[in-house]
């Protein structure tokens, strides 16, 4: 495998001198690129960029990328429903929302991502997945891998090693899929399990599946070998050069506007704010002194913000004014523990300095924040 550094490539000079003989067209009917970055936001931004800016009529693109630990949810999903956000925060695992549909996946360096870019007309997922399977079989003929009609790739007829999602635009489309090589399965299963109860939403749900790493099947495999095999098969099928070109997602001259796209993908408004409207209806069981208090909480969350909030407290447990202050403060705020914490601690400053009151308030607020 020969990896060319983009900077050394002739094409840069081609761009300035002869417009037509530029990088993309000299490569023939296709191009294979690989990201040098492991940042999920940067890599997703590259996908967006290629989808919006590249003319895929003349050639198709295969994009290869890997990410450091991250959970990636589908365009129309609800992160609270899909993963354990508390655990993500604790473990410093990133959360990203991609623009394609489909379900939630866990990425780490033991997982490789493949994106097939084509024109809208040439969009064909089955073909792409069959290509991957062909490549895997060419590498290790004894591997029992096949494509299901749900566009998953199964190992040994039962373990999912690849999931698929796609994005279609006006003129171009992409189909991307994961491939589990050597991911941390214990982290995967713990982060993809949501602890949040009482959620009701029309967001796309994920289908949990048993997974297995390819390396468990054959320890002699490496990600490099897999990437090469897939690139080779892609090159053969598209009759192009099988060499992989490295691409730096931070390069603004190569990909103008990429840093803005990367930033946008990290904003709260995109990651959480794009969650379809959902409601929470749950009962907080608060142990206070010698008794247990059951507090019914109902909230409607739209665009990631609390639209409606109802807390059913036993009368006089908290001064009524205080509870309504809490509800008023939460309404319109982000459904976010950080924002809620600031709000409740600030509200505490302006209420009577009573130890009993403070401990009740803290108890209620801690429980409310746990919902987020």
């Amino acid at each position: 495998m020969v990896l060319q550094s983009l900077k050394n490539c002739l094409w840069l000079s081609c761009i300035h001198r002869t417009p037509k003989a530029c990088f993309w067209s000299t490569a023939g009917g296709g191009l294979i690129i690989q990201s040098v970055s492991n940042d999920v936001y940067q890599n997703l931004a590259v996908e967006d960029w290629i989808h919006d800016h590249m003319d895929l009529e003349k050639q198709q693109v295969l994009f290869l990328w890997r990410n450091s630990p991250a959970v990636v949810i589908g365009r129309h999903q609800n992160p609270w429903q899909e993963c354990n956000l508390r655990l993500l925060r604790q473990k410093n695992i990133k959360l990203a929302r991609r623009r394609s549909g489909g379900g939630t996946v866990y990425h780490d360096l033991g997982n490789i991502n493949l994106t097939f870019f084509t024109t809208r007309k040439k969009y064909e997922r089955m073909g792409n997945l069959k290509l991957v399977v062909k490549a895997l079989k060419a590498l290790r003929p004894q591997l029992d891998v096949h494509v299901t009609d749900r566009y998953d790739i199964l190992l040994d007829r039962q373990y999912k090693i690849s999931g698929t999602a796609a994005k279609l635009g006006r003129t171009s489309a992409y189909h991307h899929c994961t491939l589990l090589c050597n991911a941390d399965k214990s982290v995967l299963s713990s982060v993809l399990k949501s602890p949040y109860k009482g959620l009701k939403s029309n967001a796309t749900p994920s289908m949990p599946a048993s997974v297995k790493n390819l390396f468990e099947e054959d320890a002699s495999l490496t990600s490099g070998m897999l990437l090469d095999a897939i690139a080779k098969e892609y090159a053969v099928q598209n009759q192009i050069d099988h060499r992989i070109t490295l691409i730096n997602p931070a390069d603004e001259t190569l990909l103008p506007g990429i840093s803005n796209r990367t930033k946008e993908l990290q904003t709260w408004e995109w990651v959480y704010g794009k969650t379809p409207k959902f409601s929470i209806s749950t009962c907080l069981s608060m142990a206070y002194k010698d008794s247990v208090l059951d507090v019914q909480v109902n909230m409607d969350v739209k665009h990631g913000r609390i639209e409606v909030c109802n807390i059913d407290l036993p009368e006089q447990w908290l001064p009524p004014g205080l509870c309504s202050e809490l509800v008023k403060g939460l309404t319109g705020s982000k459904f976010c523990p950080n924002e809620a914490t600031t709000l409740v601690t600030t509200l505490l400053r302006v209420c009577p300095q009573d130890h009993e009151l403070h401990s009740r308030w803290s108890l209620l607020c801690e429980n409310m924040i746990r919902l987020m």
């Binding site: 800016h53 549909g101 103008p256 705020s333 709000l343 009577p352």
Partner: protein, 476 residues
Amino acid sequence: VCIHRVRSCSSIRFIKSKYVCVFDKSALKFSHQQRLFRTSPVSCGQIVQFKLSDIGEGITEVTVKEWYIKEGDSVSQFDSICEVQSDKASVTITSRYDGVIRKLHYSIDDIAFVGKPLVDIEIDASKGVASEEDVVETPPMSHEEHTHQEIKGHKTLATPAVRRLAMENNIKLSEIVGTGKDNRILKEDILNYLAKQTGAILPPSPKAEIVPPLWKTEAVPAAPKDKARRIPIPVSRPIAFSGKDKTEPVTGFQKAMVKTMSAALKIPHFGYSDEIDLTQLVQLREELKPLAEIRGVKLSFMPFFIKAASLGLLHYPILNASLDENCQNVTYKASHNIGVAMDTEQGLIVPNVKNVQVCSVFDIAVELNRLQSLGSAGQLGTSDLTGGTFTLSNIGTIGGTYAKPVILPPEVAIGALGKIQVLPRFNGKGEVFKAQIMNVSWSADHRIIDGATMARFSNLWKSYLENPASMLLDLK
């Protein structure tokens, strides 16, 4: 990077005859010389049913997931209308027409059918109807002007409205850098271009200055001389400013600030400021920093300031007190929970270090590190943010010398620390020496604190910091 969208306009494909063609097909004859979009005989305000086009893979139904527009909105050709999902594929549906949305046929989460109407659009008759294909840019009517057919195969995407704007202002679309999707030229791009034009004679190769995407630079070699000639010099064109006021509701952090500050307003503040010579402390910290690093802790000046404050509060406990709502009782707090104002992305938060009175300077440094990393990750807990009794704000890290800090209720005092500056000062012998000077500005609740108390506390705090060795005497 080449972003050519080369579309041959000789091959017109009317995709799927099931689309409602409101115009006569024969009227849409495309040729390079003609304007392409005035040929449709659409009457004023005609409502077109825009149907959901084929998704591919034999898919017949999709779920509507998000609307980007609502009834009554204006849309331009290629604007995104909605996002639909089908079997793990998310599809962006874009408008084929310019006009006003009159009806949405589906709500969120409804199933939409391929080939059935998605939205009703009232076409703006004067603008005409766009075809399935991308419209090709043709040269403006003036024949003396250079056409840019020399720029071979270079097609520019722009809606009819944008084209008209360009034509009215005598602008070549090829000179504009498009910032819209697929690099199409938006109205804003024309307006920005005009703004740059006002009153100025542009240099021969303007493209180099407008930071262009790479593929645009190829246009420059084509006809540089002509460009200088062609640049319009508008004499008194108004600068187009398309900025609008933006109103947002006050939520979350801001709401919290509003509450706190409104309460703080009720406290009669008085201020007291002084100058501290930190020369010795700076030296001491330099010696101690590596020791702390060995223990894995970053040592700033704050732990010293905080500990000194606590030592001072032992002598002036009223500064660590709280006044009740009716100003009837003063509660002297036993714990010195000293808050440290932190600036985060979202705004000001004040976590506090608990029980400084029993902490060593190193303990305080450890705790500060913990709070700082939680703060920047947005993960501070309620216990970190409540229970504060006294606050220090190190605004000097950002800048400034003197400040007028606002007391955070239910506390009664606060100190703002300016930046450390190297300034000339006189020593006991009358000689000038280099001193590390920092200013402190205190605010206190004048209902229970008087100026003298504040001054004495400040002097004590100052003496500990100016002569750090004296802290050893009183450390518990």
